[in-house]
Symmetry: C2
Amino acid sequence: MALLVQKFGGTSVGDLDKIAQVATKILQAHQAGNKIVVVVSAMSGETDNLVAMAHKLAVIPDPRELDVLLATGEQVTIALLSIALIEMGCAARSYTGSQVRIVTDRVHNKARIVKIDQEKINLDLAAGKIVIVAGFQGTDEDGNITTLGRGGSDTTAVALAAALNADECQIFTDVDGVYTADPRIVSDARRMQRVTFEEMLELASLGAKVLQIRAVEFAGRYNIPLRVLSTFGEGPGTLISYEDVKMEHQIVSGVAYNRDEARIMLRGVPDLPGFAGKILGPICDANIEVDMIVQNVASNGLTDFTFTVHRYDFKRAMGIIKPLADDLGILEILSDDKIAKLSLVGVGMRSHAGIASKMFSVLGSVGANIQLIATSEIKVSVIVDEKYIELGVRALHEAFGLDKEPLQED
Amino acid sequence: MALLVQKFGGTSVGDLDKIAQVATKILQAHQAGNKIVVVVSAMSGETDNLVAMAHKLAVIPDPRELDVLLATGEQVTIALLSIALIEMGCAARSYTGSQVRIVTDRVHNKARIVKIDQEKINLDLAAGKIVIVAGFQGTDEDGNITTLGRGGSDTTAVALAAALNADECQIFTDVDGVYTADPRIVSDARRMQRVTFEEMLELASLGAKVLQIRAVEFAGRYNIPLRVLSTFGEGPGTLISYEDVKMEHQIVSGVAYNRDEARIMLRGVPDLPGFAGKILGPICDANIEVDMIVQNVASNGLTDFTFTVHRYDFKRAMGIIKPLADDLGILEILSDDKIAKLSLVGVGMRSHAGIASKMFSVLGSVGANIQLIATSEIKVSVIVDEKYIELGVRALHEAFGLDKEPLQED
């Protein structure tokens, strides 16, 4: 008998029919002999509706009160799902974040979980009940309602799994797992049976968008096996866990891409200590997120400094950088908002040289000029002209044999 | 500086514009130097929507989970109202029933308030904050969310006023006070400046529908002055309090009517102890509410027993009574579902004979035959053919001079 935490997102509980289907799915897992804790999000669109109402009443709605408002979204879902399960003859019991004492810090709208009181849940589980918990929300020590920020339901699920020492945290979504590449681009992209936490972190941040990155970090830290699987389909999904002896030893696990980036390059930057900070400081102050930052070794006391931002921040970033250029004695600013990032991810890379060079030559063979390179232990990312995205992803997927099931996989 | 509890119902907070108007109204009372605690209902229609969703998932939704669902309605309103007030530059703070510890018994869907912890509210009031509390909801001792049943927001407001020892509990509605008769029937019906708790109880139960009867009882028991006034209009409304020396000494305060009744009369009932219980027991077991019960002195060991029920329960009640008639040896069953109840209410009646006889002769003069009479200390009710409702109400209103302002009123 396993203890499973099952999380269903907003699309999975988007209307009453879907809630009934989700209830059936939960019931099956329960009848198979598992103890079940369910975490649900607000019905899809509901959180946006609530935010829109608040913004009609205030330019910047009070953060504490916004949390009181937003928390109703998940509260509706836990009640409806519980009602559906009880109607099916199953003992179920819903809890808000406050009721089950998901205690967070005091940072409204993006609180972090501090501790969870598992007593009520364990009593219910021991009595054979299915426990349904509102995702995304908690309470501070003074009883004020807090929310964890967008996607926080994944975090709730993983935190509950950690607190309850669950055997697995299952994230149900509208896809049936994590793929070796975007199936809309690569027709023979393959669902991975297993992937490591580190790989998933790189894949998530690169746009795989299946899981919230905070939840993956959390699961990795507490070593909670995560499984991504389909709400309305069948199949085992993809298991995210630490590398173990049984695990596939594929060198490269997947190909990710991101077409939302823009590049800003400062030519002839004086190579002096603190210079990078003077450039990026005002960008960060304007709440613009910087993705890649690349600087080469200087020659003649001058260097080139390049960074990428999200494309919708591009004009704002340029507006900040241009006036700086004169003050800082920068020779030239070159920019491009028609770029894309392609990345190869794989734990196996750690011990294999040659991945990067093979990647570059594959891209060269399809005519894609590489503008920028950044590497980590388990990832190689390059910036190319955006028109090469599909071609590049397909060529890399094929060249690294990702369409073939790895031999050692269990 | 007075402490006021202000309650706004679902129609008063029915959309975002109305919520902003209500915020302005609250702000004015606050700026006039009063301490303000606000109680709000769910936006109009919202509770019905939630109930409808629950009933699509279950024939009889689980009562505990239904309360979790319904409580979201008021939670949305407290947050939105608080956001609007804060946007206007006013310190405000919202609380759910659970947060402010409105502790109830465990009877889901129609819980009763057991106690209220006023500590948080008093701290906020002392800090100059406007406190906004969700009506209709509370928590049991174990932290389960409960609701008070329909109209429970009035009860929340009065209970809070009692717990906080407020100077007045103001119920804002879509009418500007309590009238001497239904203004749709009597064109010169007059808004009462004051009315006693006892009179209001009789007027409310007879269909005035301005206030929940539980709230009036509660206010009377704790001697909390209640004021009914208009959300979107001006004016002092109607004050409901105990009779005092300054109060008007009108003999009759108002004329009420109810057109939703049906009459069932059992002729030739044996006048034996326990007989009435044998007739009404099965009716009550079927959850049919009985309004008037009239039995005359027996002659020859037989009596006539009459009672009235809500018109939509009439067929069901007849279905229960008919099979009983033979067993109990009843001679005949006479029924009529085209009846109406007219009532005169007034504290002054206690000390004045002749009210009832004047009422009967006024009704006789317009041709209305009186089928049934019931009296209490401050009320005389009669049943007449329903076609005489309007005529009867107008005749009584005029005959008792209710269109004229009482002389002693302050």
